[in-house]
Subunit: 209 residues, 2 copies
């Protein structure tokens, strides 16, 4: 598989964690979001939304959207699982994952920040508001079923989405002490090699601040 | 089941279509987004993100996030299906659904528009840009596997997300002729009773313009 991503993109990061967790081998192709690599014609032919990640399967077929890719990996490489078996708990995992995927990340991503700047909006209070609001809701929503991880005692999509999001919360200078459950779960995730290897600063295209 | 929604919310609308399509009975509880009903303490206890929809199951357990709810319905009321059987095509359906769910809708929803106004941004060019960009990408991405519907000849999540999104494109005064495939599929959807009954203006809380 060929995996187009960017070191600091949280959507790319989620897919890296899942690929590592399921021991799926891949070739990494960096797309430089800061230099606008995602908007070049060659890449847009693979991904009309001009976003990362894009996964190219061994037969050449392509897939985009991080949660769609997680579901594909779960169906084609089911073990170790990233979803529980119980239908309600599966739905709760997906609820928490979507809270990050649709509730936070679209409001902080590269294109959104670019448009805010074009409209002469200082992006920092915007980012702090939406990321803070989303993580407050995640912290509250996760209480009901949390164990060692956000839902129960096994890693799920929810944890896969949490870890990159907390990185961005720190980057936007939010105080993580506001989310004690999320912080505890992040620490549990980072004990696992799949998460360690997926960290943004360990990717070949990572740039020192 | 009890279903908290708002007539014009596209996330609520998706779930209405799926509930109708699968013949799942529900009691509708309107939450007035314009008057801020979603931010009241009683509702936030059900949905900490202060968004619609929220589904309350017969045993009192709650679920939020429209795509998590679609997946739950698909697993617990599998017929008629809203996903194909082939894993790659399932992933493509989810890709198109996420393109709307995470790629468009968060950038047009009530809270985003409220924040744009707070930052003194005229929301109309913002909405036209993000909705136009997203539907351009949807139109391009859907070409590969479209049939009568966006993926193949059966209704899927992708169509469920498309119909409410096109309503908002028209509301934001975008010319739908720009997306001929999407327009053709919308017409096919609207021949079905599940879609007809779910239309925003047929809901009990609908308000004439």
């Amino acid at each position: 598989m060929k995996f187009y991503g960017y070191w600091r993109s949280s959507a790319s990061w989620r897919v890296r964690i899942a690929l590592n967790y399921k021991n799926v081998a891949y070739e990494y192709v960096p797309v430089n979001l800061v230099e606008g690599g995602q908007r070049e014609a060659e890449y847009r032919a693979l991904n009309p939304m001009a976003q990362v990640p894009t996964l190219i399967l061994d037969d050449g077929r392509q897939l985009a959207q991080s949660l769609a890719i997680l579901e594909y990996l779960e169906e084609t490489a089911p073990e170790p699982a990233l979803l529980p078996r119980d239908p309600y708990l599966r739905a709760r995992v997906r609820q928490l994952a979507e809270l990050v995927n649709a509730g936070i990340q679209p409001l902080q991503n590269t294109e959104t920040v670019r448009q805010l700047k074009a409209h002469h909006v200082d992006e920092k209070p915007w980012l702090q508001y939406f990321v803070g609001r989303g993580l407050d809701a995640l912290e509250a929503s996760a209480q009901a079923h949390a164990g060692k991880f956000l839902v129960g005692d096994e890693v799920t999509y929810a944890d896969v989405c949490l870890v990159p999001q907390l990185h961005h919360a720190r980057r936007f200078e939010l105080d993580q002490a506001r989310w004690p459950l999320c912080t505890r779960v992040e620490a549990a995730c980072l004990e696992l090699e799949a998460f360690q290897k997926a960290q943004a600063d360990r990717q070949p295209d990572a740039v020192a601040k």
